[in-house]
């Protein structure tokens, strides 16, 4: 009946690669923080990065992390022109951008 795999598992797996040395509870807490940070993108790009049908903006689920980091930094610097993304990207620091990209790269398209 469930349409998607349990939501916390994939981001958790992604964070475990980064933070494998942290104790169990902290890993869960940091996975939650990463998931919640990435959820600030979902208003326009879809829950867990899955765009609505016929979307005018790209879905982010499964986007390679390196590509997404590059694009967000290009929005931030102005190298990539945009209507709104340049204004939003400037609200996030490099560490947050890495976290967001890591989360979406780990999501099923």
């Amino acid at each position: 009946m469930r349409l998607h795999p349990p939501s916390a598992l994939k981001p958790l797996a992604a964070v475990m690669l980064i933070a494998a040395a942290l104790p169990g509870a902290a890993q869960d807490a940091s996975a939650l923080r990463q998931t919640a940070l990435a959820a600030t993108c979902a208003n326009c790009h879809g829950t867990q990065g899955r765009a609505v049908e016929g979307a005018a903006v790209p879905g982010l689920a499964g986007m390679p992390a390196r590509y997404m980091v590059e694009q967000l930094k290009a929005f931030k610097s102005g190298a990539r022109p945009a209507t709104v993304m340049h204004q939003l990207a400037k609200g996030f620091n490099d560490a947050q951008i890495e976290q967001i990209a890591g989360y979406f790269a780990a999501q099923r398209k």
Binding site: L32, A36, A39, T40, C44, A55, L88, K90
Partner: protein
């Protein structure tokens, strides 16, 4: 009959929860409850509450039980509802049912209202009678319109003469019908209360939408914006340019017009300082405050209108384990009362609640975004966007320096993004 059915539906949808007995059950086991059995009750299924309900389920990997109490069968969006007035969208276009929250996310949706909340016992009593106990209550009741701040408005609204249509739904259509019935050469006037109110750019977008309709069908008509504020409160230079260039001679803006009375018989609005104004269609927006259930529960501790919260978790400063979201919140600096912001409140509160119920530290650095699109006609759009970070030293959210901004001017490309925003945020909130 309806109440009895609602009660039965509520009992059915609550499954194993004993409705009458759960208050005692909760009190008896409080503190000993394992996080996996935690119960979150969400009151109000708007952008804040519905999002929080869905995201508590997502963030907890479906481990936390979530019940949503909402009186309506479907959600009608306030954002985009101005396009129903303009004629380019229908009410069906802006309506999304609540069914997916139950089917896809396992939220127990109870069609009812909450009559009272006991913060000490941690129970809510439904209008139909049953009691629901909670470990965490998320209160997202939206706004109440303060009818009695404008003499005569309550009766004029009840008679259907002078409408607000600020809560989208049947009144949106009723106002559209008044506009359709107005002869060419008539005057539509909208009054705006002193900020803060729900959706800062909304009244100005509405003026554009009504003007767009008039321009196409009743070009000799006028749109009067009568604003209690000294100047346009959002996207000011952009709106003024649109009015001057797209609707010259049709839209007129007047600041410092604080309405205090209406006369429905003559369709006249009276102002504190300025002269009375008579219009063919009067659209009066009174001052607003947190939804009645928040006020009644003693949570509206900011000027008796809005609810102060600890912004790290959105927990009320007046009651433990009650988290208040959306327009009801006493806003942080530069934080608009918008649907997008309420959706972000819902996610931040959901993350904090899941952390707390799991015994984890709450994220010390949550982030919020806001993007607010305004349609200047059926296709062209302008936006304002912002990113907000929690500033621990000041215990509030502040706009990130250097982030955010507005459009250079209306474009059709932004029109496509705006409609995409609407479809996506409806899905993110409800599907």
């Amino acid at each position: 009959m309806m109440q009895r059915r609602t009660l039965l539906q509520a009992a059915g949808s609550l499954g194993l929860w004993s409705l009458a007995g759960c208050a005692i059950d909760s009190m008896g086991t409080a503190g000993a409850r394992a996080p996996a059995k935690a119960r979150v009750l969400v009151v109000g299924g708007g952008y804040g509450g519905a999002t929080a309900a869905k995201y508590v389920r997502l963030f907890s990997d479906q481990k936390i039980d979530v019940t949503l109490v909402e009186p309506d069968a479907a959600f009608v969006s306030c954002p985009i509802s101005n396009l129903v007035l303009g004629g380019s969208k229908s009410l069906a276009d802006i309506t999304t049912p609540y069914t997916a929250l139950a089917r896809k996310h396992g939220v127990r949706v109870v069609r009812d209202t909450v009559a009272s909340i006991d913060p000490a016992k941690k129970v809510a009593v439904l209008a139909s009678g049953p009691t629901i106990a909670y470990d965490k209550l998320i209160l997202s009741p939206g706004i109440d319109l303060m009818w009695d701040t404008i003499t005569g408005l309550r009766a004029a609204q009840a008679e259907g003469r002078i409408l607000q249509a600020w809560k989208a739904g049947p009144e949106t259509l009723a106002l559209r019908r008044q506009l359709e019935a107005m002869p060419d050469g008539g005057v539509y006037a909208i009054t705006i209360p002193v900020a803060p109110y729900r959706c800062p750019p909304g009244p100005y977008e509405r003026a554009c939408q009504v003007a767009s309709y008039f321009k196409a069908t009743k070009p000799r008509s006028k749109v009067l914006i009568l604003d209690a504020n000294p100047d346009v409160t959002s996207k000011g230079p952009l709106f003024k340019k649109v009015w001057a260039e797209q609707y010259p001679g049709m839209v007129e803006y007047r600041g410092q017009h604080n309405a205090f009375a209406v006369d429905a018989r003559t369709n006249t609005v009276r102002f504190e300082i300025q002269d009375d104004i008579k219009a063919d269609v009067l659209n009066v927006l009174p001052a607003m405050r947190a939804g009645a259930i928040a006020v009644q529960t003693g949570l509206a501790n900011a000027n008796a209108r809005w609810c102060n919260v600890h912004f790290l978790s959105f927990e009320s400063t007046a009651a433990k384990d009650i988290h208040v979201l959306g327009d009801s919140v006493q806003s942080a600096p530069a934080m608009p009362k918008s649907g997008h912001m309420a959706n972000n409140h819902g996610k931040a509160a959901a993350a904090a609640i899941v952390a707390e119920l799991s015994g984890w530290e709450i994220n010390p650095a949550p982030m919020l975004t806001n993007t607010c699109y305004s349609f200047t006609d059926a296709r062209n759009v302008i936006h304002v966007a912002s990113v907000h970070e929690y500033v621990a030293a000041e215990r509030t959210f502040k706009a990130v320096a250097g982030s955010g901004g507005v459009s250079p001017g209306p474009t059709e490309q932004e029109g496509q993004y705006a409609w995409n925003w609407a479809r996506t945020i409806w899905a993110d909130t409800l599907l």
